[in-house]
Amino acid sequence: MTLKLGVPSKGRLMEKTFDWFAKRGVTLSRTGSDREYAGAVEGVSNMELVLLSAGEIPRELAAGRIHLGVTGTDLVQEKLPRFEQQVEELAELGFGHADLVLAVPQFWIDVDTLDDLDAAASAFRAQHGHRLRIATKYHRLVREFLTDAGVADYQLVDSQGATEGTVKNETAEMVADITSTGETLRANHLKLLADGLVLKSQATLWRSRVAKYGSADKAALNTLLDLLEHRK
């Protein structure tokens, strides 16, 4: 058995994850061609690199098919109910910062807080005969946030990409999306709600509480944890 580490298979997130581990004496690399999702680990014996889509890593951790995984707090909390019971946070990696925020058109000068949003949603529903639509891919997080805040008369519509454009296309009245600088939101004439921060997220190393750990896995995990501890 080997200790399995799941890392996002593409783009900057993978490279930055590799850099982060390299600084701590663990060399991760992709093997084979660029199209092949296989990897190698040096620095910790009995450890294996599994390249996965970032969105699948929470599920794989919860199923115990990987022992460790790097993915955003947003994805873990969206995909895993009672996530603390299923995974343990080992380290925040200091990149991949993103906030899940509620944003409305800038010209809604009457809406600045959740309190305003709730009132506007009520009027909108009376006027248009349907609830105010919020485009998002973070259904659970947004719903729990709005339930907690006591906002009513809204509905979530699924948007897996180009979420900011849904308002212009009139498939939604507002959005709940990930932003790091807010630039895309501004470019699409949207603004943040003052109290509409749903979640602050960054790339995080998680440990599965569900996966089985044999003695070799435990040894590998301890070696890795020592290395991480060393370079904190």
Binding site: P81, H128, L156
Partner: protein
């Protein structure tokens, strides 16, 4: 744990008893159209019910309760008055309570009766109390109609009252609205700025989306008008808070609320209805002197209760959901009736929990 066949046998027995009490058996499909439930409960229902879909019928939900389909069936072709009973599975997602079953049997009894609300309330409560007699349960009762009457009679604008009524079932938002309307919350800077303006606002921001500039302007005007309205008076607010905090046995609760009615006379008719119900319950042998009454009971549940509410809880097992619960839902029949309405009261029992408690006592 009781096995499934035992639970089913108990459910069948309970349904038979409800039939003996005069109810007619109804059955409803397991798959319910999602639209109706979403329309009633909003997005919250998705956290509680299983949603499924196909390309032809769109979204459907695995029956999260019987009340809505039973009301719909009655509104379509029910004779009056009517008493219904049913027994079957309901499905609830339990993401926050993984130890609770997500599929269980419910047995229900619903009364659609125009004439004597107090008698119908008492009939339902007494019938449920009889089914759970002998189990170590605490009964809780309440009446959301009293709080609604208090809000409707507040000396403030219709808009504020409508906003409060809309959030009766969301205590936190209700609280923050109340604080704002009473002038207790400092105004956010953005609001102060907005209110310092006059006339039509012409901004540089692009108008986009289905919510139009005219709607924004209309709300700005509503905010300006609201800022001119005086805050809810202190004595009204204190009386309302005292009312929401009432938690006593029925006789003492009634006495406290009669005192509160000096400042909130609008609740007097609702209190008279409570007295009538208490008398009707007493006549049916309910020990009302030792029955708990909480004025805020039933406000956090998603159900559409707007009058009498009750629940039976296992005293030694606070982790369990209520073994039986129910209440009056006149407003629900109005919402589903497309112009029609009929006063209705009913409740459901959990045979699995009854068996579990009986076993634990052995």
């Amino acid at each position: 744990m009781a096995v499934r066949s035992q639970i089913q046998a108990r459910a069948a027995m309970l349904r038979l008893r409800f039939e003996a009490a005069g109810a007619q058996v109804v059955d409803t499909p397991l798959l319910q159209p999602a639209d109706t439930l979403l329309d009633l409960y909003g997005e919250d229902i998705r956290a509680r019910a299983y949603v499924t879909s196909d390309a032809l019928r769109g979204e459907q939900m695995l029956r999260p309760d019987f009340t809505v389909p039973v009301v719909e069936a009655h509104m379509r072709h029910g004779a009056e008055p009517a008493r219904y009973t049913y027994s079957g599975e309901v499905f609830r997602r339990q993401e926050h309570f993984p130890d609770r079953p997500n599929e269980y049997l419910q047995v229900g009894y619903e009364v659609f009766e125009r004439d004597d609300a107090a008698a119908a309330d008492a009939e339902v409560f007494a019938l449920f109390a009889l089914q759970v007699r002998g189990l170590p349960l605490r009964a809780a009762t309440g009446d959301i109609g009293i709080l609604m009457a208090a809000v409707e009679g507040l000396n403030t604008t219709e808009k504020r009252k409508a906003a409060l009524m809309r959030h009766i079932w969301r205590p936190r938002r209700f609280r923050s609205l109340l604080d704002r309307f009473a002038g207790r919350t400092p105004m956010p800077e953005s609001r102060r700025k907005l209110l310092s303006t006059e006339g039509d606002l012409t901004g540089s921001a692009v108008e986009l989306g289905k919510r139009r500039a005219a709607e924004v302007q209309a709300r700005v005007e509503a905010l300006r008008a609201d800022a001119k309205a005086p805050p809810i008076a202190e004595h009204e607010l204190l009386a309302l808070e005292a009312l929401m905090a009432v938690r006593e046995t029925v006789p003492f609760a009634t006495e406290q609320m009669r005192d509160i009615a000096v400042d909130l006379p609008q609740i007097i008719p609702a209190l008279d209805r409570l007295d009538a119900r208490t008398a009707a319950m007493k006549a049916r042998g309910v020990d009302v002197d030792n029955l708990d009454f909480e004025a805020s009971y039933g406000r956090t549940s998603m159900e559409y209760y707007d009058g009498f509410v009750f629940g039976f809880y296992a005293e030694a097992r606070p982790d369990l959901p209520p073994v039986a619960s129910g209440g009056r839902y006149d407003a629900l029949t109005r919402r589903l009736g497309q112009g029609e309405e009929i006063p209705a009261v009913g409740g459901v029992l959990r045979p699995d929990l009854m068996l579990q408690l009986e076993e634990a006592r052995k």
